[in-house]
């Protein structure tokens, strides 16, 4: 039987990120071209690797790939990029696309056994939900070593003979980590927000308003609280359900808006009344609560069971409160007709 000799295909890359790479990351953070921010799956070389160099496994989301290679200054290594459909390592591992099957397939496609003489692949720890290390070994002979959570610890990990400290194994979620995730949350709400503004405009045309600058900034404030402020202040806000945290800040905001606009009629916003003020109290906090609740998906520590438990109470409460608030404001508008 003849064994076909396929050519080895190795793509060269570097630890240096160009301006375009960085721009791409920034754009992805803002949701621009995020679903198509990919690199080609396959075997890459960084520096001048040889048959003894380590093999680092990554995903084909370009932000994942870039954040790995930028930590490889002066390192000679292979990067094996799996086809995760442009999704990052952790999320793809959860979905199973960064998985045992894909790793085995990709190693076979690039003929890894011909490229390196050792039999070890370094998989990022956050890939573990998709990879069964012992099965990879069973089917390929390659041993899986789990690398550190953060790529920036890789050099130290490699120097210490592939030993990760327990610090390297912990997922953190610092205020900065949370902050960089907030633009995408804001962008995600923009479509719905535009629809809401459209409806308010129509109500104005029908004479059921007036909805004006107060409603605008009250709403924008509630959105920013849910999408940015609550995520950033997350561990400092009392309570543990995300929806509750968002509701609490949203409530403070709604009260603030009402005070600013003459809860007792001491400022010059003529259409302001007690019904409208109550309406804000019923609408703004749940808007923040809902958006804060959605941040569970971006967080690094919420469980499915926990989110489900929180939602079973929060979702009905949010809906009831918003409906009540809308009714109050519409009643207020009708009274003034």
């Amino acid at each position: 039987m003849e064994i076909s000799n396929r050519e080895l295909k190795i793509i060269q890359t570097s630890a240096e990120l160009t301006f375009n790479d960085k721009l791409g990351t920034w754009k992805a953070r803002w949701g621009i071209n995020r679903m198509n921010f990919k690199v080609e799956p396959g075997l890459y070389s960084v520096g001048k690797p040889d048959s003894n160099s380590p093999v680092l496994v990554s995903a084909n989301y370009k932000m994942s790939f870039d954040s790995l290679r930028k930590e490889l200054m002066e390192v000679n290594a292979w990067i094996l990029v799996l086809d995760t459909k442009g999704v990052n390592v952790w999320c793809a591992a959860g979905k199973g696309t960064f998985g045992t099957q894909e790793l085995l397939n990709r190693m076979a496609i690039v003929q890894l056994e011909k490229v390196v003489s050792h039999r070890t692949v370094i998989v990022p720890q956050l890939g573990a939900p998709g990879i069964s290390a012992h099965e990879v070994t069973k089917f390929s002979g390659f041993k899986v070593v789990y690398g550190p959570v953060r790529a920036k610890d890789l050099q130290e990990f490699l120097k210490s003979g592939m030993k990760a400290t327990s610090e390297m194994r912990r997922v953190k979620f610092t205020a900065y980590d949370r902050l960089v995730l907030t633009p995408i949350e804001l962008v995600g709400t923009s479509k719905v927000s535009l629809m809401i503004f459209g409806v308010l405009f129509l109500l104005n045309l029908l004479g059921l308003g007036p909805f004006g600058i107060v409603d605008f900034y009250a709403y924008i404030g509630a959105v920013i609280i849910g999408c940015v402020l609550t995520p950033v202040l997350l561990p400092w806000i009392p309570g543990s359900p995300f929806a509750w945290k968002g509701w609490l800040l949203g409530f403070i905001w709604a009260v603030t808006v009402n005070i600013l606009n003459g809860w007792n009629g001491w400022t010059a916003v003529p259409q302001y009344s007690i019904l409208r003020a109550l309406g804000y109290i019923f609408i703004m906090p749940p808007v923040s609560a809902y958006l804060a609740m959605n941040f569970t998906g971006s967080s690094t520590f919420t469980s499915f069971s926990g989110v489900l438990k929180e939602m079973r109470k929060a979702v009905p409460a949010i809906i009831i409160s918003i409906v009540l608030g809308i009714v109050l404001i519409l009643v207020d508008s009708f009274i003034k007709l």
Binding site: Y146, G297, S305
Partner: protein, 99 residues
């Protein structure tokens, strides 16, 4: 400041009869849930578990059980609306928010 989530909800279970104390679960767990005591793994703090399933997948002796799932409200809402299992389908081209 530590990030903590709801208590007493995680579905994580460890069957110590099957555990051989290899320590793989300690290695893959991102939240330091396990600890080795008397050559066996024990659950140190279940409330830190985010049900990612890394330990289950990497336990060579099938000693760990968890109902893995995405801790993402948006995914759960989509699951309710479409009548499917919640999945992290941010990449599907249809979803434009989330992870």
């Amino acid at each position: 400041m530590k990030n903590r989530y709801l208590k007493n909800v995680a579905t994580l279970k460890l069957n110590s009869d099957q555990c051989r104390g290899c320590g793989r679960c300690l290695e893959v767990c991102p939240h330091n849930v396990f600890i080795i005591e008397d050559r066996k793994s024990v659950i140190l703090d279940k409330d830190r578990c985010m049900e990612c399933g890394a330990c289950v997948k990497n336990c060579p002796f099938n000693a760990i059980e968890v109902k893995p799932g995405v801790g993402c409200a948006y995914a759960i809402i989509m699951g309710w609306l479409t009548g499917t299992e919640p999945s992290c389908d941010c990449s599907g081209g249809s979803g434009d928010s989330c992870c």
